[in-house]
């Protein structure tokens, strides 16, 4: 390389201007950072006429139903609900950071353990004042679900739905099947269905959560609600003979489940019930979404999971309940109280159910006259229950259910014989997870 004296000076002006340009861009980028972080902060001021609400109702039907509810609230109180809707799963995945940041005043959440967790972490505000007004609207089981570990109320339930065994009336009629009420009858029915060329129990566990529903049902039928709650809260041991007995029962009916379950979504499994290839399906009442044809939907019916242990009968119903919580420092507290009092009223629930008939009201005061036959049955089942559970991933720590139980149950379904070593593995992992704060 030959450096002529004039060489370096010639390109320098252009280079310098280039540098200047880049420097300017860097300064701009630097200035951009505070601007961006400003976006993170909630722009809403403490306007006494608005209440902000973080919603996970991203599906079209619930979203529309909530819009109607908030519109009715505005008409009644003059307060505007400023809704910030996020995708349902994203909302759930980001809940930790959402509640620690600048959350909305009120947010959609689930009853039970998942609510108590945030209450114990001081990320929610107790709402005993609201419950003094709305307490009469709810049955005792719902009240139990709305309280934190400290005995204060943190949650206002709106809707709920039951888990049960779904079947088609025409199929049962055609083969002369009876609804089983005991375990032995269920096993006998499975055998008969297999003989008749049906898949006795439709099953799809690709998403890893449906199997948790089966476990829940067998566990609280066999060992009762109290043991189930203890087990979910990490207090009872997974190596207990009672838990082993749950898996023994499950192993007994596992051969009657649809095979290839690990690769099948619940929607595909539901289709086998729609097409009358399967006799029964244990799932939440949202299975009805797959029955798009009116005649098929009218043919759909369900029964409670049969009794296993006569001491507990069919006293527990798995009824995941959705509702509202208040974040740690709501900007408009007076407005929040008004909104929750409205949301806890039968009026709000009736407005919601007009648009979304796939669930039922959590309140026992709500008008049931517009319910479909299926809804009526669901409502009766839930209001007649002695205890309500919320589903494994809502009744227990989500880190435990998602990283330990989901893979473990999938493994059990593939290899029911290895259950003993699995249970001790679950217990070891449970201890470390529940030991951490």
């Amino acid at each position: 390389m030959q450096h002529t004296p004039s060489g370096p000076s010639l390109p320098s002006p252009s280079r310098r201007s280039l540098l200047r340009g880049i420097g300017g861009a860097a300064v701009l980028a630097g200035a951009g950072i505070p601007l961006l972080s400003a976006c993170g902060g909630s722009g809403a001021s403490s306007d006494p006429k608005t209440v902000t609400l973080g919603s996970n109702a991203s599906d079209a039907v619930p979203k529309k139903a909530f819009t109607e509810v908030y519109a009715a609230f505005k008409k009644q109180s003059g307060l505007t609900v400023d809704v910030n809707t996020k995708d349902h799963n994203t909302f759930q995945e980001q809940i930790n950071s959402y509640l620690q940041g600048t959350p909305d005043d009120v947010f959609n959440w689930f009853a039970g353990y998942r609510m108590q967790f945030f209450a114990a972490k001081k990320l929610a505000t107790p709402i005993d004042d609201v419950w003094q007004k709305i307490g009469d609207n709810f049955p005792d089981a719902m009240k139990k679900l709305s309280k934190g570990e400290d005995g204060k109320y943190y949650f206002v339930p709106l809707t709920t739905y039951p888990w049960a065994i779904f079947y088609r009336k025409s199929v049962f009629q055609q083969h002369g099947y009876q609804v089983p009420t005991t375990w032995d009858q269920l096993v006998a029915l499975c055998k008969q269905m297999k003989k008749d060329g049906l898949v006795p129990i439709a099953f799809g566990d690709k998403d890893a959560w449906p199997a948790m529903g089966t476990f829940d049902q067998i566990n609280f039928r066999l060992n009762g609600y109290d043991f189930h709650v203890q087990l979910m809260a990490g207090k009872a041991s997974w190596t207990d003979a009672k838990v082993k007995a749950v898996f023994d029962h499950w192993t007994e009916i596992l051969p009657y489940h649809q095979d290839g379950a690990m690769g099948r979504t619940w929607q595909d499994a539901a289709q086998t019930l729609v097409s009358k290839k399967a006799g029964m399906y244990l799932l939440g009442s949202f299975v009805a979404q797959q029955f798009t044809n009116k005649a098929d939907l009218d043919d759909l019916d369900f029964f409670a999971f049969p009794e296993i242990n006569p001491a507990y009968g069919q006293d527990t119903v798995e009824a995941p309940t959705d509702g509202f919580m208040v974040s740690k420092a709501p900007k408009n507290h007076a407005g929040v109280v008004k909104l929750l009092e409205y949301l806890g009223s039968p009026d709000a629930e009736e407005t919601y159910l007009k648009t979304d008939p796939s669930v039922v009201a959590a309140s026992s005061k709500a008008d049931t006259s517009s319910y479909s036959v299926l809804q009526k049955k669901a409502f009766e089942m839930i209001s007649g229950a002695k205890s309500l559970t919320q589903f494994m991933d809502r009744d227990s720590r989500p880190d435990f259910t998602s990283t330990v139980m989901q893979p473990a149950l999938q493994k059990f379904i593939q290899d029911p014989k290895g259950v003993d070593s699995q249970l001790s593995s679950i217990e070891r992992q449970k201890k470390t997870i529940f030991a951490s704060a």
Partner: protein, 326 residues
């Protein structure tokens, strides 16, 4: 990489090159005149901003993640971070039923990619290099899977493998009770099913890399080999393939990276259920979402980091040694 070159430039610029000792005076004088105060500020900004970004986004986060691996933290408030020493690693190595399968699957992933799609990609590249008709069409066809995002590939193949309505089971009639072939769920099948999808994409990638390498082979080498009477296989084996050495290095590194970062395809395919556990998926499952086992997930990430370093450091050392020699 670009950060490194920019950080070097301010120190390098005022220093005269050691070879130009005779012109030292003129050059230093020139530089003194050139570097005004403003220039210095500009240069400091140019070097500083990327350095700060690099340190903050790469080094601080990596070190924080390593530090978190020795703690337990649910992600709520900094005061809930608790030091647990090596507990996370102890649990990981002894109690986690998914960890060792995950390590094994990452290794299998690499071995399969290097043994099947890589030679096949080379084979396609050699064929396409022969100036056959419609070469461009074939190139495009084989390269298309590389352009599609991994998530889409996972989604498409998941439809092909669907046990009830998928293409394969419908054709071979394996979607009836008792005859199910569960490509997605069966732990002895699903990894291979995913690997077919991964290989489908990787072949195109390898083909393009090798095709570029082949284009740069000096034609006179072929001519010389032909004059010496070498047949096609001999020419390839003794003349062409050895000249592809730099390409082979790139291919090896790319394949290692692909097998360590394998995630999206499997996550869409079956969320890393039994049979397809991967380290990256374990990290995600533990950290992201409601589970928030941040310390534990970081420990898995550290294991992944150590494996990556064990592979990358020898490669970088070898490359730099070669560069220095050259």
């Amino acid at each position: 990489m670009s950060t490194d070159t920019t950080t070097k430039s301010p120190e390098a610029a005022p220093e005269p090159p050691p070879g130009a000792a005779s012109k030292k005076k003129a050059v230093t004088r020139g530089h003194r005149r050139l570097l005004t105060r403003r220039d210095r500020i500009t240069l400091a900004l140019m070097a500083g901003v990327p350095t700060v970004l690099h340190v903050a986004l790469v080094w601080v986060t990596a070190l924080a993640s390593i530090a978190l691996a020795f703690t337990t933290w649910d992600g709520i408030g900094f005061d809930s971070i608790q030091w647990v020493g090596l507990d996370n690693f102890k649990q990981l190595f002894t109690d986690n039923p998914q960890f060792w399968p995950a390590v094994q699957h990452n290794v299998v992933w690499f071995v399969v990619l290097i043994l099947i799609p890589t030679p096949f990609g080379l084979f396609l590249a050699v064929q396409l290099d022969k100036k056959i008709r419609f070469s461009r069409v074939y190139q495009t066809a084989y390269f298309l899977p590389v352009v599609i995002s991994m998530a889409c590939i996972g989604f498409v193949w998941q439809l092909v493998y669907n046990p009830d309505t998928g293409l394969i089971n419908s054709i071979i009639g394996a979607n009836k009770p008792g005859h199910y072939i569960d490509w997605i769920g069966n732990p002895s099948l699903n990894l291979w099913a995913v690997l077919i999808a991964a290989s489908w994409r990787h072949t195109g990638y390898m083909m393009i890399l090798y095709l570029a390498g082949l284009k740069s082979v000096d034609p006179s080498l072929r001519e010389a080999a032909a004059l010496d009477g070498a047949n096609e296989w001999q020419t390839f084996k003794s003349v062409i393939f050895p000249t592809l050495r730099p390409t082979n290095t790139v291919v090896l590194v790319v394949t290692i990276i692909e097998s360590l970062r394998a995630f999206d395809l499997v996550f869409v395919f079956n969320k890393g259920a039994q049979g397809t556990e991967l380290l990256s998926i374990l990290v995600t499952n533990n950290i992201i979402g409601e589970s928030s086992r941040i310390g534990y997930g970081s420990a898995i990430a550290v294991v992944l980091l150590v494996i990556s370093l064990a592979v990358i450091i020898p490669y970088l050392v070898a490359t730099f040694r070669k560069e220095r020699r050259a």
